[in-house]
């Protein structure tokens, strides 16, 4: 059990999402940065679909009411357990009564408080994710509030002292310029409906993330894009990552809490493997879209899968040796 001692709006319980109900108008929800949750769950030996707390506002303070293993992933931030610093992306085990505080991130935007066994809220339509628009899932379909108590699994052993290398360090092929991120995207159905100049600018000019950016979508600002002629599209199903261009010409990237259908022209779709980078990009960051084809988009999953495979091996190895250490008698052979 954990108790929320301090939180601002926008923090919710999320898992990997709720696929399968878009035909009823229910979007996927789920963590904005699925890689960070996968890493947290892997470190703790959880199931892939275990839920965590997604942080978007700080500071966030909780009290562990029972011994609990945890890891905070997604961000680099000042994190303390009873005032003592704790590393991000690493496993620690709190004793009952200890207080975890997560401060404002130095890098990244969305932090994930993952706990051993996952956050246990009722499964609604196959997922524990909070569906804010539909007001269900998570804790009563709403943001977490001070005083909320969340059920967790008491830790059976004292895990600590191991962690993951933050994925940005491993997966970023080219060093990024300060405050700029590169996202690979596949041209969309309506790409050719834009003027030649607009098409070229979409892929070359930097797009700034505006304050009107959240779990629903990111609104970007930059010199507007123009269509060759106005077009009235019929409503069609959309997915996270699709880049739509409303009449004013500045693109929107639809994300986890987006509607399931839309009607704006589609200029491109950010590949799934890069959505976690967008989830961690803060307001004011610039985005450069880099065109890629289907094969490159599929191949982009490979480094992420290898990273997770390596992590799984490391965690299995560490936990096995930790168990044998704990099982050894004092004075026994190391």
């Amino acid at each position: 059990m954990i108790t929320i001692l301090e939180t601002a709006p926008l923090n919710t319980v999320q898992d990997l999402g709720r696929p399968g109900f878009r035909n009823l108008g229910v979007g996927s929800s789920g963590v904005m940065d699925p890689l960070a949750l996968k890493i947290g769950n892997c470190l703790l030996g959880n199931r892939a679909d275990d839920a965590c707390i997604e942080l978007q506002t700080y500071p966030f303070v909780i009290r562990f009411e029972t011994p609990t293993s945890f890891a905070v992933t997604g961000i680099d931030a000042p994190i303390t357990l009873d005032g003592k610093p704790v590393l991000a992306w690493s496993v620690e085990t709190a004793t009952a009564g200890q207080i975890l505080q997560v401060g404002i991130p130095k890098t990244g935007a969305r932090g994930y408080v993952c706990v051993g066994g996952g956050i246990d809220v009722p499964v609604v339509l196959g997922s524990r994710s909070t569906q804010l628009r539909g007001s269900f899932g998570g804790v009563e379909g709403r943001f977490l509030e001070v005083g909320d108590q969340l059920v967790t699994q008491p830790a059976a052993e004292h895990l600590s002292g191991y962690g993951a290398v933050p994925p940005a360090r491993v997966l970023d092929t080219a060093p990024c310029e300060e405050k700029t991120i590169t996202l690979r995207a596949i041209p969309g159905t309506d790409h050719t409906r834009f003027t030649e100049d607009s098409r070229e600018r979409f892929w070359t000019q930097p797009w700034r993330i505006t304050p009107q950016s959240n779990r629903i979508g990111y609104r970007l600002s930059g010199a507007p894009l123009a269509l060759l002629e106005q077009v009235e599209l019929r409503s069609y199903g959309i997915i996270p990552g699709i880049v739509q261009v409303p009449p004013a010409g500045e693109p929107i990237v639809q994300l986890a809490d987006a509607n399931t259908a839309g009607g704006y022209p589609r200029v491109a779709t950010v590949i799934e493997s890069d959505l976690w980078r967008l989830a961690q990009a803060r307001i004011g960051t610039s985005i450069c879209f880099v065109e890629c084809n289907h094969k490159a988009g599929v191949d982009a999953e490979q480094p992420i899968n290898s990273y997770l495979d390596d992590l799984r091996l490391m965690v299995a190895h560490y936990r096995a040796s930790s168990q044998s250490r704990n099982g050894a008698k004092p004075g026994g052979k190391a």
Binding site: R22, G25, S235, Y236, G237, E272, G297, V298
Partner: protein
């Protein structure tokens, strides 16, 4: 393709019930493919979301085109819902705008709205929201340039050539002409959505406030 893991099939031609029934036929034909995670019907289109990024999407596209050309339209009898509407008043306060746009009196707008039978083409956008076909073209009214910020769930609306009942309270660009008290979505009900594809809806006036 939409990204690497989704493909949108768009039917050529106008928005007719027959084209929509061909989309329904395509859904029935596609839903048993083992590579499908979700099928998302739209208005004369269908989004396929795959469990994994397909290696050869062009083969699936060919398969879909072939199915589209050969499958007969799928008729779905659906259930008939009779929905009582409180027309006008503060919960239907775009009635005047619809009247002004169409050049018809508010009484005539209401008469034409409740005279038709509507069909649920697709459920989407928000949980339980049905895109309704069957609006009398004489009362078609474009979406508002400035959306209402907090339109209540249950508002009876017109958006261009489409009719609807808003499923959630929130911002909405469609024109409100009335209000009804039905609950369109309950995650703990099975099925959660009141409306399904092919269901028919008739509106009748519970009250009129002009």
């Amino acid at each position: 393709m939409m990204g690497t893991r989704a493909m949108l099939f768009e039917a050529p031609g106008a928005f007719t019930m027959q084209q929509q029934q061909r989309i329904w036929a395509l859904i029935a034909h596609t839903e048993n493919r083992p590579d499908i995670q979700e099928l998302v019907p739209g208005v004369t289109n269908l989004l396929l979301i795959f469990t994994h990024a397909p290696e050869h999407p062009e083969q699936i596209a060919d398969w879909l085109r072939d199915a589209w050309e050969t499958l007969p339209p799928l008729q779905i009898a659906g259930r008939l819902f009779e929905v009582g509407v409180r027309y006008g008043g503060t919960l239907g306060d775009d009635l005047a705008a619809v009247s002004a746009h169409t050049g018809l009196s508010p009484e005539e707008v209401i008469r034409l709205h409740q005279a038709g039978e509507y069909t649920v083409c697709a459920v989407g956008s928000a949980p339980g929201f049905g895109y309704l076909h069957g609006l009398d073209p004489r009362i078609a009214t474009p979406r508002k340039s400035v959306p209402s910020l907090n339109m209540p769930a249950g508002t009876v609306t017109i958006g261009g050539m489409q009719a609807g009942i808003s499923a959630l309270t929130g911002p909405n660009g469609w024109n409100s002409i009335g209000y009804t008290e039905i609950c369109l979505f309950d995650p703990h009900r099975s099925p959660p959505s009141l409306f399904a594809i092919g269901d028919r809806i008739r509106f009748y006036p519970e009250s009129i406030e002009l």
